[in-house]
């Protein structure tokens, strides 16, 4: 019999189904069943039955085939029995009479089928019940069938896993927002579809702790009470042992058992960093037997996990970055708050006691306090993401509440570069009404644009100049920032707004920077429903912010009374 190459990319059950159909038509067998070995549960399960039957797989015939399969498995060779003859080593229980009076079967043959592609699924047993006159099937013929089936099962499983890995790459590539939760949902969703189970749960190890937390749950909602018995312990065991498990765990709600398949979620080095769990919620009260998972499905989920490993590495790296930023932000925030509190108290006490100083030290320290706060704000925006950072717009005077304070915050940097705040000029603000903006976020935008203009001036300090102009439009305004610095090379107008990207002329001049400023500024402007673009590349370089006076969707922070 020729191998059934047309059956690739199908489940083992589907492969066996086509194979058995053809086998029955060519061999004259009246009944063929395939059995699968489950080494974890130490048992042999019937995968499929084809051929003549009267209703369900008759219990006595099933029992006989099961025992015959076990015998073939133990001996690892073709095993035969005939009517009225006991099978070797099995005694009276295996008499052929048990093969079924109704079917009038004459004899049975069990042929081990070794499947080498999946190390977990060690053996398939092809169990043949020949019809009249066909009980003299030659061993050579039987072995050819076994080899053909093994080849098809292996090829099919391999193809299925490869296809699934590619499919996962496509699915992950299409995830919008790239948030960890969405990526884990995509992984779980594909597993749900491919393994055909009720629920898929994805767990990831807790930061700094050797415990798991649920990252994603797709499919049916976990029935109440069912997650309490056994499953969490199994998932933890899989994570700690870094080894797949097929299990049935007790279900307190229905007094039945629910089958589960748990596979470790591994990184590129093979270390377990979490677990993925497929569950079928069996309702014992309905009397339906549980649909057990097989090692076929372990291989499929393993393939998904392997394909997800590089994405997992990225997520873990992002998590480490997030944790480091959070820790750094928190550690810096405490002294900064303390600094501002103490400064405020000191200023008040000096006022009471009428101390006078030669310079306005409080103003200077206050600028540094605000600058530290602005930098911490930027750290938080990078950590949380500009699309998720708190957004609290209110009607704000752009000049007095945003531009003027930002110029003050930049005083230390200007001084460092031998520049002066007066070199940043502005105009057109006279008749501008208050805009509905988040003052902290918009300050960050203006700060980033001006900081870039200062850092990338390139010429003599005396030639530094930034013109900030406002032009009103029907729905809002345009704020342009013109400087006479090194500019942006042609063709890089959009690239400079990508995170981590900087102009090629900046990189060749070895100027410091992490390439986050313009990306953040644009994203923050977009949070306001506006846009930030590069209008001119150089001579002057011009960035333009377009803002609406009112937010597209009315925000509770911007009520008319604030006008």
């Amino acid at each position: 019999m020729a191998p059934l190459l047309g059956l690739r990319s199908r489940t083992t059950r589907q492969v066996c189904e086509g194979f058995l159909k053809e086998l029955i038509s060519k061999s004259g067998c009246r009944r063929v069943s395939v059995w699968s070995v489950d080494p974890v549960r130490s048992r042999i399960d019937c995968l499929l039955v084809k051929g003549e039957h009267r209703g369900a797989f008759e219990p006595d015939v099933r029992e006989c085939c099961h025992r015959l399969a076990a015998e073939a498995l133990a001996r690892r060779e073709i095993t035969r029995i005939k009517r009225s003859v006991a099978a070797p080593g099995e005694g009276a229980a295996l008499k052929v009479a048990a093969l079924g009076e109704d079917l009038d079967l004459e004899s049975a043959v069990s042929v081990p089928v070794v499947n080498t592609s999946n190390i977990n699924q060690v053996l398939l047993l092809l169990n043949l019940l020949p019809g009249e006159g066909t009980h003299l099937l030659r061993d050579e013929q039987l072995n050819q069938w076994a080899d053909a089936l093994a080849f098809n099962v292996e090829t099919s499983l391999h193809e299925r896993c490869t296809r699934l890995a590619k499919r996962l790459s496509i699915v992950l590539g299409g995830v919008r927002g790239r948030g960890p939760r969405k990526l884990f949902d995509a992984l779980a969703g594909l597993a749900l579809k491919e393994v055909n189970c009720d629920t898929v749960l994805v767990f990831l190890e807790e930061r700094f702790q050797n415990e798991l937390r649920l990252e994603s749950s797709v499919g049916k909602t976990i029935p109440s009470g069912r997650d309490a018995i056994g499953l969490p312990a199994t998932v933890n065991q899989v994570y700690k042992n870094n080894r797949e498990v097929l299990t049935d765990y007790a279900d307190s709600t229905t007094s039945g058992v629910s089958p589960a398949l748990v596979v470790p979620l591994r990184d590129l080095s093979g270390r377990a960093r979490g677990a993925i769990c497929c569950v079928n919620w069996v309702d014992a009260s309905k009397g339906t037997p549980p649909d057990l998972f097989t090692y076929d499905e372990v291989a499929v989920v393993d393939a998904l996990v392997e394909a997800f490993a590089s994405q997992l590495e990225i997520l873990l790296a992002e998590q480490h970055r997030h944790d480091a930023f959070q820790l750094l932000g928190h550690e810096l925030r405490v002294p900064m708050v303390a600094f501002r509190a103490v400064l405020e108290r000191l200023h008040a006490e000096c006022n009471v006691k009428r101390y006078e100083f030669q310079y306005n030290h409080f103003d200077e320290l206050s600028i540094y306090g605000d600058l530290m706060r602005g930098l911490l704000e930027r750290l938080d925006i990078i950590r949380v993401g500009p699309d998720r950072v708190s957004f609290a717009p209110r009607f704000t005077n752009l000049l007095t509440s945003i531009i003027a304070p930002t110029k003050r915050f930049l005083r230390p940097l200007l001084r460092q570069r031998f520049m002066h705040p007066d070199q940043i000029v502005h105009g057109g603000f006279e008749d501008l009404p208050k805009l509905c903006i988040d003052p902290a976020l918009m300050t960050q935008v203006v700060f980033n644009l001006l900081e870039n203009a200062i850092k990338y001036h390139g010429g003599e300090p005396a030639t530094f100049r930034v013109d900030i102009r406002v032009t009103r439009s029907v729905s809002g305004c345009e704020i342009s920032f013109r400087d006479y610095g090194i500019g942006v090379p042609r063709g890089e107008e959009e690239r400079i707004f990508l995170p981590g990207e900087r102009g090629s002329n900046v990189r060749t001049q070895r100027l410091g920077g992490e390439g986050m400023g313009l990306w953040l500024a644009r994203e923050l402007v977009r949070r306001h429903g506006g846009e930030l673009r590069l209008a001119h590349n150089s001579g002057p370089t011009e960035f333009v912010i377009t803002l609406r006076q009112y937010l597209k969707y009315h925000h509770p922070g911007c009520v008319e009374s604030h006008l």
Binding site: F208, G329, H330, R333, V334, M336, V337, A338, R340, A341, V342, E344, R345, A348, R373, L376, E377, D380, V384, R388, V389, S390, A440
Partner: protein
């Protein structure tokens, strides 16, 4: 309200808030007291719950931090290493003492935690420490009390 006390819950206040070794957070206490408010201090969840149990009828306002050790009260809850202790405490207070308004004064900028705590119905204001100096907190409290008395 003016006759009632403010319960200030923040682990950074420490036990020595009225001594020269006091934490910077004692400036917040001082600013409130200078405005004439009577301020009671709880340096953790357990102490806060105890004071509320003993004296809730005299509490007019609670000023609450989010990140604190879970204490015995929330030892078995998911506080994410103390990051959410204030959230759980606010939930408890909202249920047990729904008439006492709460102001949250926190260093935590994460929108999720802040949204969760702001969803409690008696949270009247969320203040971010870097944007709220002691005098500004005192002014916020004064404004709130004024609006309640009006």
């Amino acid at each position: 309200m003016r006759a009632k006390a403010i319960l200030f819950i923040d682990d950074e206040l420490g036990a020595d808030q009225d001594t020269p070794d006091a934490s910077y957070m004692s400036y917040y206490l001082q600013a409130l007291r200078e405005r004439g408010f009577q301020v009671m201090v709880a340096t953790g969840a357990d102490s806060a719950l105890q004071q509320l149990a003993d004296n809730s009828e005299n509490m007019g306002l609670i000023v609450l931090d989010i990140m604190m050790p879970p204490g015995k009260a929330f030892a078995n809850d998911d506080t994410r290493g103390g990051l959410r202790t204030g959230v759980l405490l606010a939930e408890h207070i909202a249920q047990a003492y729904p008439d006492i308004p709460m102001m949250v004064l926190t260093n935590i900028p994460d929108p999720d935690e802040r949204k969760e705590i702001e969803s409690q119905k008696n949270v009247v204001r969320t203040l971010f420490k870097p944007y709220c100096t002691p005098f500004e907190l005192a002014q916020e409290v004064q404004d709130f009390v004024g609006s309640q008395d009006a």
